[in-house]
Symmetry: C2
Subunit: 361 residues, 2 copies
């Protein structure tokens, strides 16, 4: 096994039902400088009860993150410009991201832009963020993306036709509040599709060429948990399983190694059809049985056991232009594709083969 | 499952053969303040080749840690007094601990004493360290104790007849350098006994009453790795298995939940017979088959498979005073004992029963 990069862990976590009630303490510990706390909250909570327990004080800023679409660079720019105007040059005491992967990622991106000049797209890439972001607290309300642990925040960029994050140690949250009671009202489909994201990035990593022992073992651990949750006796959304899924996402996020074939095809679907990430992953895996036979079989069982349907035909009648865009949006992901297939990936996944795979979805 | 305490992870790790060559870079990143780097190195390396690669510069301080005995508070006091005199009031740019669990713990304790006044024993307990320690880099050269991840540094205190650490987030290392090539020359017995420490604190945690999902899953993961290493096809000290054991120790150390019956009996043995920790654990488990039948059976297999012997009779002919001290040195560990046996642990583990267990070792 080769030498890893110097890897950052999320420095602090608290786990368990009731953890959310501690959020106010964590924020108060940062208030000494006098700046406002900035809350980036999934718009889903706008009229929900949980919002009443948000420990926002006078002068704090609460913004709602529209997660009906995948987060885009322009959206993040607008959001951070608005926040900057309200902060009037005074740095926030901390930034709280509360929501699913999209919201957690938007909060990370906005935080980076509060301490670094310019536009979001200038930081899409690796090690481009120059100044540390304000202190960040992540409160996931949906489990599976691993965004609570990762050093990236995935943003779509229509102009450059890609999805790419601000890969930086500065992007990592400083504190996680893992409270499974926050996931009780997640729709069942969404719980399943998002949970599968953990399962998928873990097996993509394990089946790839670029590996290390820590990532491998954490991936195996998170996959075991997913199998227990989605194929076990208990309902996938039982109290215990919602806590298990929150931990699987956390451990899978710590593992976050290199993805393989699922994520590139999924990115293509999100770019062209604006499919949400979790659902797009599931469509991608549904046609990857040749490459991942075991995982495809287990996934098919998981769909059936939890009565989740994936209606066929989403790419059946697209224009030639759209098939081109699907191909381009997939093949651009050279690192995960070569991780899965080696340097010859462009020949293995030619336009024709890819198009017939998309048509089979 | 109940709410966890707010839990600190080691913020950075690098893993793989060759990681040790990066140590100089990590230290150099801290040198801006001009203070010396302090190296606390296991005395085993005093005349070894690895020492030539130690990235110490002019003005840095290298101290060798005598690990022939379990680290004691007086020893740590003397060491930190010596270091303070040489530092002449200037804080070190960082503290490097390089060695097994004892050395890693001594480096943590010395670091705490460099930024906090008084003697080591004043900090034996929970949350007593008031000021952050200097930046610390841990370089394990022996795998299994989990000292590289833990928030404690176990020190014996003859006066108070106990083993107790400085439990504090300030005790945690800031950076780990996990290089399995550093464990190539570990004696086989020591590799086994120390590796078993991971196996034991993980199953003690899993069999206990105080639990959480993250600790449980990391414990299961580390135990799986131990079974692969000590019962698998490959030699336990193959190149791959030395890396696996380094990771098992790291993940088991992150799990470091609450211990059970092994550690209290082991502490008694270390106090009375000055047995090293790993070996003492193994003697303890050897008589705990009634309490941990499965784990005892697997352990017996591991001993046999790796041709490790545990000669009988170490407590056969002790004085009444010594049996008293063994009983006291065990029963004082109320938290792990009640974790394993509930509040009635003193009746379950009476003097007579404990003594007959020690005599059976």
């Amino acid at each position: 096994m080769s030498l890893t990069r110097n890897t950052k862990n999320v420095p602090y976590y608290i786990l368990g039902a009731g953890a959310f009630a501690r959020l106010g303490d964590f924020i108060d510990e940062r208030r000494h400088g006098g700046g406002a706390a900035l809350f980036c909250v999934d718009h889903y909570f706008q009229d929900k009860e949980a919002l009443r327990d948000l420990p926002a004080k006078d002068g704090d800023i609460v913004v709602f993150v529209d997660t009906s679409k995948e987060p885009a660079v322009e959206y993040v720019d607008a959001l951070s410009d608005g926040v900057k105007a309200r902060l009037q040059g005074r740095p926030p005491c901390c930034v709280v991201g509360m929501g699913g992967g999209a919201t957690l990622d938007v909060a990370k991106a906005v935080a980076n832009l509060l301490s670094n000049p310019g536009k979001a797209e200038e930081y899409q890439g690796w090690e481009l963020v120059k100044n540390p972001a304000p202190y960040k607290i992540g409160v996931p309300t949906l489990s599976g993306t691993g965004a609570e642990c990762s050093r990236t925040c995935v943003l779509t960029n229509e102009k450059r036709k890609l999805k790419l994050g601000m890969n930086s140690d500065y992007t990592v949250y400083d504190q996680l509040v893992l409270d499974p009671s926050l996931t009780v009202s997640v729709p069942r489909d969404q719980f399943f599709f998002t949970g599968m994201d953990t399962y998928m990035h873990c097996f993509e990593s394990l089946r790839g060429a670029y590996r290390n022992v820590i990532v491998d073992r954490l991936s195996l651990c998170a996959m075991d948990m997913c199998r227990d949750i989605f194929l076990g006796q208990e309902d996938m959304m039982s109290e215990a399983n919602r806590e298990n899924m929150m931990v699987a996402s956390y451990l899978g996020g710590m593992a976050a190694g290199n993805t393989g074939l699922v994520h590139p095809l999924s990115a293509g679907l999100s770019i062209v059809l604006h499919l949400p990430h979790g659902r797009a992953n599931c469509y991608a895996l549904s046609v990857l049985g040749d490459f991942y036979p075991e995982e495809h079989a287990a996934f098919t069982q998981m769909l059936a056991k939890n009565r989740i349907s994936l209606p066929k035909g989403i790419c059946a009648n697209l224009s030639e232009e759209q098939y081109d865009a699907l191909h381009q949006g997939t093949i651009v992901h050279e690192k995960p594709l070569s991780n899965a297939l080696g340097p010859d990936f462009k020949n293995i996944l030619g336009k024709e083969r890819l198009t017939s795979m998309f048509k089979a979805m």
